[in-house]
């Protein structure tokens, strides 16, 4: 039976993280962590909270993706300068492969390696180890692996290119391909959650500014043209949150729709985050363009996470496959169309 409510555990998790981030991921801290985008003190606090280990299974039952999505969304909303999503995905993957997760910072490359190099891997610049897929093998590189650190990036995320030469093989063959597909879907769901958080918070900043900023004798949010742009963004933000919930649930229940929904969620949440932060920034007028206001932090993060996920074009094949599978499964009942 359908139920859109968060569980009480999820509400508790959200409350705990909201408090944590309010103390340890303020805009000032986010700025201080730039340009690399990594805040070791925040990461230590998150470690104390139980990250990323709580992504592992307890008593044989895997942690729920839906719970992790709540955490990722909160982290996104506060632009947490910490490798939350990738370490959770790596922990789940290691867990699935029966490998022990240590205390190292292990990141995950959402895109397969090309010519032995995992390019543009989030957090590779600060990770102890990098997990990546190369052909039909899952590899783990490091410590001491060769990482090229770009000087400047659009929005931190401690991007690095990791050379996988000499990396340890964690799995290979069809089992590896399938495990990577699951991990990639996990990553898409959690990145979508982070994007939904960025989107909602970015929209909120724009809305609050529009309530207080006056021009021509009234708050600018009372001008229909601006208000309607924000309303359109609100519908996208709302849709992204729903899709993230469903995709996480599909992952937890092993639904055959999970890969399609994960791809969909990442693409849609990216669209929502880009539009919400773009309109949120626009609502700020010239101030939105200055580094002094926070909205530009959200604007850059939205685009950066969206680029990492490959945007809508990266989702096409998985979504079309889902559409075809759904159609076939619906017509098993021989309804036909009249």
């Amino acid at each position: 039976m359908m139920d859109f409510a968060l569980s009480s555990e999820q509400l508790d998790l959200r409350a705990g993280l909201t408090a944590l981030f309010a103390d340890h991921s303020t805009p000032a801290r986010v700025r201080a962590a730039e340009p690399l985008g990594f805040d070791p003190a925040l990461w230590a606090v998150l470690g104390g909270f139980g990250f990323p280990h709580l992504a592992g299974s307890r008593d044989g039952a895997p942690a729920r993706l839906a719970d992790l999505a709540v955490a990722a969304q909160d982290a996104g909303a506060c632009l947490a300068s910490a490798p939350l999503v990738e370490t959770l995905v790596a922990t789940r993957l290691l867990d699935r492969l029966g490998a022990a997760a240590g205390d190292d910072l292990v990141t995950f490359s959402p895109r397969p390696a090309v010519a032995g190099v995992a390019r543009t891997v989030p957090w590779a610049a600060v990770a102890d180890r990098v997990i990546a897929c190369d052909g039909d093998r899952i590899l783990i590189a490091g410590p001491g692996h060769d990482v090229e650190r770009p000087k400047q990036t659009l929005a931190g995320l401690a991007i690095g290119h990791a050379d996988l030469t000499g990396a340890t093989v964690l799995a290979e063959g069809p089992a590896a391909v399938s495990a990577f597909a699951e991990a990639r879907a996990d990553w898409q769901v959690l990145t979508a959650a982070a994007l939904a958080g960025v989107a909602a918070a970015g929209l909120h900043l724009g809305v609050e500014y529009a309530k207080t900023r006056h021009q021509f004798g009234q708050p600018i949010g009372a001008f229909q043209a601006l208000a309607h742009q924000l309303a359109d963004a609100a519908a996208l933000v709302d849709g992204a949150q729903l899709l993230v919930q469903e995709a996480a649930w599909a992952g937890d229940t092993g639904s055959p729709r999970r890969h399609g929904l994960a791809a969909m969620a990442a693409a849609f949440a990216g669209r929502a985050a880009r539009q919400a932060t773009d309109r949120g920034l626009h609502a700020h007028g010239g101030y939105g363009y200055t580094l002094e206001y926070d909205i530009q932090l959200y604007f850059r993060r939205a685009k950066a996470l969206s680029l990492l996920s490959g945007g809508e074009s990266a989702a096409v094949d998985a979504v079309v496959a889902l559409a075809l599978a759904d159609t076939d499964s619906d017509s098993d009942h021989d309804t036909g169309r009249r």
Binding site: M1, M2, D3, F4, A5, L6, Q10, A66, L203, V207, K211, Q215, F216, G217, Q218, P219, G221, A222, F223, Q224, A227, H228, L230, A231, D232, A234, A235, L236, D238, G239, L242, L243, Q245, E246, A248, W249, A250, T253, L261, M264, A267, F268, E312, S313, A315, V316, D317, V319, V320, L322, A323, L324, T327, D330, H333, D334, T335, G336, R337, R338
Partner: protein, 392 residues
């Protein structure tokens, strides 16, 4: 959190699917081609199965179906492209009468609706009041124990098949516009009622209805005198989920069938990157539209009145339908110029049909601008404007 229908809900869905599968081929095209989005055959068959009162409590002769079962029924009819506009409008009025009607109205009208004997139509819009429905000018004047009604209504869809119009009339011109309205149930065969067909871009027939000194007894009044706005708010709360999501479901089904069928001169369209990109975008928007719809169903199932969830769903799904159908027509290409059902047009004409229809979904039941206004003020808390000044 759960995103699956229960076993009982799935059983009912299968029952509906079997019913639809058993309809004569081309039922969808035939019903659409009449222009009246209602088939008495389908309606009576639904009545036989008790579905017209499926949502009614068992103790009142209904089937006690839950909101998810009702949503599923709607969705499966939409998927199959079988319009049930007539039932949806009539049921909405039945539910409203159940709450605000007199005992006589409840006993006389509701059973006839739920038994599939009669249809009703809505008389809200007028030539000069569409979005601003409270500006209605059709007058109802006291005349002894009864009322005399004069005026004109627009977009009275189904009036030519219906027995009553659920009519909003001005009874007091001297108070603020929302406070001088009264609702009536006016028989369409009353003297002085005229129904004129109005044809549309999407092929549907709607009507203009004219009221020239139409006399009705006071028993035709629904709710309090000058309390019509409140009655309409009750009725609005029963408005089904946005129809656009159902159209998107239907469109995608037709489009996927088209896309995976190889043509005589080449591979299946789904092999083309722009077709795939278009389908993926539309299918994603469909999933979001359905989630927004199911969330409203979920709220209903918990007896929670939706706040702005309906506006979010309506805005998103109708704009998505317009986008999707326009892009799908584009990827079909020049052959999308060929139209009609059973004429050899691509996707049997349905992609082009949904494209023409889609434009009205951002207009009726509250335009996109009305929905954005509601979302801005009630969902985002943005202030209302006091005035618009130069150039801004």
């Amino acid at each position: 959190m759960d995103f699956e229908l229960s076993a009982a809900q799935l059983r009912f869905r299968d029952e509906v699917r079997q019913f639809l599968a058993g309809l004569p081929p081309q039922t969808s095209a035939a019903v659409h081609d009449t222009g009246t989005l209602h088939s008495w055959d389908v309606h009576r068959a639904m009545a036989e199965r008790g579905w017209l009162k499926a949502a009614w409590p068992v103790e009142q002769g209904g089937q006690g179906r839950d909101p998810f079962e009702m949503a599923t029924l709607n969705e499966e009819f939409a998927r199959a492209g079988i319009p049930i506009e007539g039932w949806l409008i009539a049921e909405l009025v039945a539910k409203t009468l159940q709450i605000v009607g007199t005992q006589q109205q409840r006993h006389e009208v509701i059973p006839a609706i739920l038994g599939g004997e009669i249809l009703l139509c809505l008389g809200y819009s007028e030539p000069d009041s569409g979005s601003d429905v409270a500006a209605a000018r059709t007058r109802a004047t006291r005349d002894g124990d009864g009322w005399v009604i004069d005026g004109q209504k627009m977009f009275t869809t189904m009036a030519h098949e219906a027995s009553y119009v659920f009519l909003l009339a001005r009874t007091n011109p001297d108070v603020p516009k929302h406070r001088g309205l009264t609702m009536f149930l006016v028989p369409l065969d009353a003297d002085g009622v005229q129904v004129r067909p109005v044809h549309t871009l999407g092929g549907e027939r709607t009507n203009a209805t004219f009221y020239d000194r139409v006399r009705v007894p006071d028993s035709a009044r629904v709710g309090e005198v000058d309390g019509g706005w409140d009655v309409m708010m009750v009725a609005l709360a029963f408005e089904r989920q946005p129809a656009a999501a159902g159209h998107l479901l239907h469109l995608l089904g037709r489009a996927l069938d088209w896309a995976r069928t190889a043509g005589p001169d080449g591979p299946a369209p789904i092999e083309r990157p722009e077709v795939r990109a278009c389908l993926a975008r539309a299918y994603t928007d469909l999933e979001v539209s359905r989630l927004m719809g199911y969330r409203m169903t979920w709220l209903t199932s918990r007896d929670v009145l939706p706040h702005t969830e309906g506006s979010l769903a309506k805005l998103f799904s109708s704009e998505a339908l317009m986008r999707a159908s326009a892009s799908l027509v584009d990827v079909v290409g020049a052959d999308a110029l060929l139209t009609g059902h059973g004429t050899g047009a691509p996707a049997d004409g349905w992609i082009e049909h949904e494209f023409r229809h889609s434009v009205v979904t951002t207009i009726y039941a509250g335009t996109s601008e009305i929905q954005r206004g509601i979302i801005a003020e009630r969902h985002l808390g943005l202030p209302r404007a006091t005035a618009r000044r130069a150039g801004s």
